[in-house]
Assembly symmetry: C2
Homo-oligomer: 302 residues x 2
Amino acid sequence: MSSLLVTGTIGIDSVETPHGRRPDVLGGSASYFSFAAALFTRVRLVGVVGDDFPDDYRRIYSDHAIDTAGLEVRAGAKSFRWSARYHGDMSTAETLRTDLNVLEGDSPSIPDAFRDSRFVFLANYHPIKQLEFLEQLSGPELIVADTMNLWIETARDELLATLRRVTGLVINDGEARLLTGRQNLIDAGQAILELGPKFVVIKKGEHGSMLVSPDDLFALPAFPTREVRDPTGAGDSFACGMMGYLAAGDRFDASTLRAAIARGTVVASFTIEGFSLDALRCATPDAVEQRLKRLRDVVRFS
Amino acid sequence: MSSLLVTGTIGIDSVETPHGRRPDVLGGSASYFSFAAALFTRVRLVGVVGDDFPDDYRRIYSDHAIDTAGLEVRAGAKSFRWSARYHGDMSTAETLRTDLNVLEGDSPSIPDAFRDSRFVFLANYHPIKQLEFLEQLSGPELIVADTMNLWIETARDELLATLRRVTGLVINDGEARLLTGRQNLIDAGQAILELGPKFVVIKKGEHGSMLVSPDDLFALPAFPTREVRDPTGAGDSFACGMMGYLAAGDRFDASTLRAAIARGTVVASFTIEGFSLDALRCATPDAVEQRLKRLRDVVRFS
């Protein structure tokens, strides 16, 4: 079992969906990453918050065997805040407000004890920052990155430089099309492989995901759930459910990647059944196993 | 093995996609239905064309063991024509022109020899016409219908009357949401079951399909293909690939429905790889079996 190093935002969200409204809840991509991956492996978290970050929220990480040695509390700064609203089928968030706050300052540094991490997930962030983060590590074995439209459109060269360094890319369908100019998602995936990554996982929200690599093509629907309360963090949980499983098994061959994507699929299904991290935090390895069994049955045919 | 009775439009299409332009090709929902179902069972076709309908096109049906006793050639009338253009990811057709022509007159009648048909597929059409069609039959065992936004919005009561008579409904995701007001597709499927059908198959285009019934939930991605030239008829081929398989096995229990949906998925993948019916017409049972094997592999995980 390898430890998984994750970085990303940690913050305070206010979210409204057709199922209710939750002000000032624990959020941020790295929060979803950490709790998702912690279902499978030990997690090393790197992030920064302000001194307004509630102790209660910080304690939640420790309760889940998440190593918070890399969680910096910056004095005099305020935590990152995001508020958003989801409508209709909740497929996209309408961002109402983003206060970067502490994220506008220096990136958090990686503690010495984390620099030997072999499995690394780079959250969606400016690709230059992603590279700087990598340069602090002493030779990771598996690097998987996320990215977004903003960097594809405004920092394409830097993003291409990052892509040459990563083993895998997790990206949603619209971003894959934007990055490659290819409409067919298999084409888009193949085009991304030519940019550096050894594998690409394309997220399709309620429609599931697809893995494209030189020697494999895998597609899986989303785990079927009727209890979608808040889709925030679904993609993040998916990515780090996958990464946590890979780190736990200490390998990322084609068959293990498929198994990992199935775990990510299941973990994301817990996340969306509650607001904030409420449902994900309560998920257990047993519950994951039960849903995996169900997911296998959902796609079975003779 | 039961014969499958299909009805729908038969016409002449002019289609443009990013891959080319094809004027005056064989089209119409019933054409796709017939060729898709003919891969599995004997097909009885009911439809009407004008006397401008090319003999060559008519001959294509007979070459595929499609019984055209119900194909009426109406003297003095012109055939149905549709022209459309697809852009970008080709997920929706932009209709450039629709000439109903012969479809504005009386519906074709069902030949006596077809009235004992036990498996019936009702193409998307005004629900009153769908009911009139059913009334000419002597007790079919499985009735599956298609419908569309237009009838959901303009003939809701009539559609609800039809739904009370059918065994299954094939509908796309947007239509399922419009019909039920439910955003979650499993919810939408369950809501449709309360309207009469014993099962609902929700088509999601490039994202595959989902089966909802009281005792089953099945989801499958689309068959992965990079060769998408013309998506016209994909949904029709899917529906009648499924129906053809059900009729061939003369049953529609949960396990057979799953197997049938997989066949529909594969048949649709042939359709979109060529313009008009070019690729579907060349598909063979062997080619279907090969793609089924591939589709099983695509969703396999441990």
